[in-house]
């Protein structure tokens, strides 16, 4: 296993789920409850020192019990390593802790995840929609069950050539 993953595993034996290295990218899956502690560790610990927030993302796996995956990718400018921390949340309680207290850039990135995937972030200072309109009520566009066509106000139009 990657030395960084080993360190995280030995420090958080309860929260650590798995580590995967593919194409040179290190991805570590942790339990939702441990996410903030793990992130705090990789942010503050001088050996990890991940001071640069790369992106926050989310993936929808509709067929799985814990449906949504929240992905944080961070980088260390001094140590030059990149770590991807992933966690799963179920659909009926899609909440994770916000990382705004660790990386200020997480503010907008988490808002985007909320907007696109509907995942709530605990303790986020300003959790509103960011790309979609504030009063948008038709769901979360990047979920897999969001229809690519045939939903929305355009379908209520009366078409002139409607045979009925």
């Amino acid at each position: 296993m990657h030395p960084i993953a080993e360190k995280i595993q030995s420090r958080f034996p309860e929260g650590f789920l798995s580590a995967n290295e593919w194409r040179g990218d290190l991805a570590i899956s942790v339990k939702r409850e441990a996410l903030h502690d793990v992130c705090q560790y990789i942010r503050r610990d001088p050996e990890m020192d991940c001071d640069y927030m790369v992106h926050v993302s989310s993936v929808d796996w509709p067929d799985e019990a814990e449906r949504f995956e929240v992905v944080y990718e961070v980088y260390s400018i001094r140590k030059r390593h990149r770590i991807r921390i992933k966690t799963r949340v179920p659909e009926n309680d899609c909440r994770v802790d916000s990382m705004v207290d660790l990386w200020m850039g997480a503010d907008f990135m988490e808002r985007e995840v909320f907007d696109m995937m509907g995942i709530r972030f605990n303790h986020h200072p300003d959790l509103r929609r960011i790309l979609m309109p504030d009063d948008y009520t038709e769901g979360y566009p990047l979920r897999k069950d969001f229809p690519v066509q045939g939903k929305g106000w355009r379908d209520t139009f009366d078409f002139l050539n409607d045979p009925n």
């Binding site: 194409r23 990218d25 850039g105 696109m116 960011i130």
Partner: protein
């Protein structure tokens, strides 16, 4: 009310001060001002709600999404090849670098080696695009600040390079010249001749822009010490590119994670130290010179060779063979109707575009479409720092602050 009375009431700020205590108190509530979405200096459709105290910004809330087109959702519905033209429309003034970043991400997913000549071509064109991007930025930033002349000079030179792109791939802005596994077309003699002439023409022009700006008192007053951000905060916000390097962090993916032909070229990364708008400007000016160096080295070191990786299951066949050779036609047809079979897995690949780190996070579950494609666009992330950086500055500075990120809304809203 007489003018003098008005003046005293306007300037009365401290009710406890002995000189102003007996004057009538003023309502001091903050003023809410909408800037945008249609505003000539917002670089697109961006709205900022500003809370003002006098002319100072107390809080600014960017309202994004006016240009949201759901590009990430669109990517899930098409094959990997079909997404390349969509990347043109992200940062629509610098399409080449978006193509480059996307193709690199897919190549990392597919684990494809690119032939050497293709790497040199890619690097060269990417650096030409970087010059175009910085010229565009310099012109519009100077225009926003009030120095109109520079705009005409930078756009004159940008035009030369856009015509060069036109000859290279038939389009000036929406280029789609990069392909997964290589590039679409090789250079011809006329293109090499033109870029070489540009290399002789351009360096004196850089000095010309510098003369326009560096002795311009308005420019200096409005950039020096404006929107200062410390290295620590800039990193925490995830800023990248010249915006981060202005604060003294030498984070440049071309050096940190060398890709394409950058490891074979010698160039340096200019780093500022004050973290203000002026340093961000200075870095871009220096990057002109570095880009010129890289282009020169690419032209010198380039050897004839293939321009496309030889992986028929992934890469497109040469165009001239598609119409003459049955196998190539089948290959082309299959790649565009079904796509190639990507392995299951996930990758993140960041590329140093001229604005900052442009990254693609691709999750694949096999098959021809990406399961999830996330675009890490520098403009969006830079906008997250806008409130923090603009606090306490004047309304007029707001435009120069997000101007100094080189913001393009197509990329910000995706």
């Amino acid at each position: 009310m007489k003018l003098e009375d008005q003046r005293t009431t306007i300037y009365k700020v401290d009710p406890n001060h002995p000189e102003t205590a007996d004057l009538p108190t003023l309502r001091t509530e903050e003023l809410l001002l909408n800037m945008g979405p249609q505003h000539p200096a917002t670089h697109g459709v961006l709205k900022v709600i500003m809370e003002l105290e006098g002319e100072r910004l107390v809080k600014s809330t960017p309202v994004l999404g006016y240009l949201h087109r759901g590009v990430e959702k669109l990517a899930e519905g098409g094959t990997y090849h079909q997404f390349i033209p969509h990347t043109d429309r992200l940062d629509y003034v610098c399409a080449m670098y978006n193509n480059f970043a996307y193709c690199r991400a897919v190549e990392k997913l597919m684990d494809i080696e690119i032939p050497e000549r293709a790497e040199y071509l890619r690097t060269l064109v990417a650096e030409v695009q970087r010059i175009i991007g910085h010229l565009f930025w310099l012109g519009t930033q100077a225009l926003d600040i009030g120095a109109m002349t520079v705009f005409f000079y930078t756009f004159r030179d940008r035009e030369i390079l856009l015509d060069w792109f036109d000859e290279l791939c038939g389009a000036r802005l929406t280029t789609s010249w990069y392909r997964i596994g290589g590039v679409e077309k090789d250079f011809n003699d006329s293109l090499i001749d033109k870029i070489q002439r540009f290399l002789g023409y351009f360096p004196p022009k850089i000095d010309e822009y510098v003369i326009f700006l560096e002795k311009n008192r308005v420019w200096l007053a409005r950039t020096r010490g404006v929107a200062v951000i410390s290295a620590e905060d800039a990193l925490s916000f995830g800023l990248s590119g010249p915006t981060l390097r202005g604060s003294g962090v030498d984070y440049d993916l071309r050096k940190y994670e060398p890709y394409s032909a950058y490891p074979w070229c010698e160039f340096s990364v200019p780093v500022g130290k004050n973290g203000d708008t002026y340093d961000r400007y200075w870095i871009r000016i220096e990057e002109f010179r570095e880009s010129i160096k890289i282009i020169k080295q690419c032209l010198e070191q380039m050897q004839p060779g293939p321009i496309m990786a030889d992986v028929p299951s992934v890469t497109l066949p040469p165009k001239d063979r598609v119409f003459t050779n049955l196998e190539s036609m089948i290959q082309q047809f299959k790649l565009f109707s079904q796509g190639f079979d990507a392995p299951a897995g996930e990758i993140y690949c960041g590329t140093e575009a001229h604005k900052g780190e442009l990254g693609f996070y691709i999750v694949s579950t096999g098959g021809g479409n990406p399961y999830r494609l996330k675009i890490r666009s520098p403009s969006f992330i830079h906008m997250g720092a806008f409130d923090y950086m603009s606090k306490g500055y004047m309304i007029a500075d707001a435009v120069t602050i997000f101007g100094s990120y080189d913001i393009v809304m197509g990329e910000c809203d995706r």
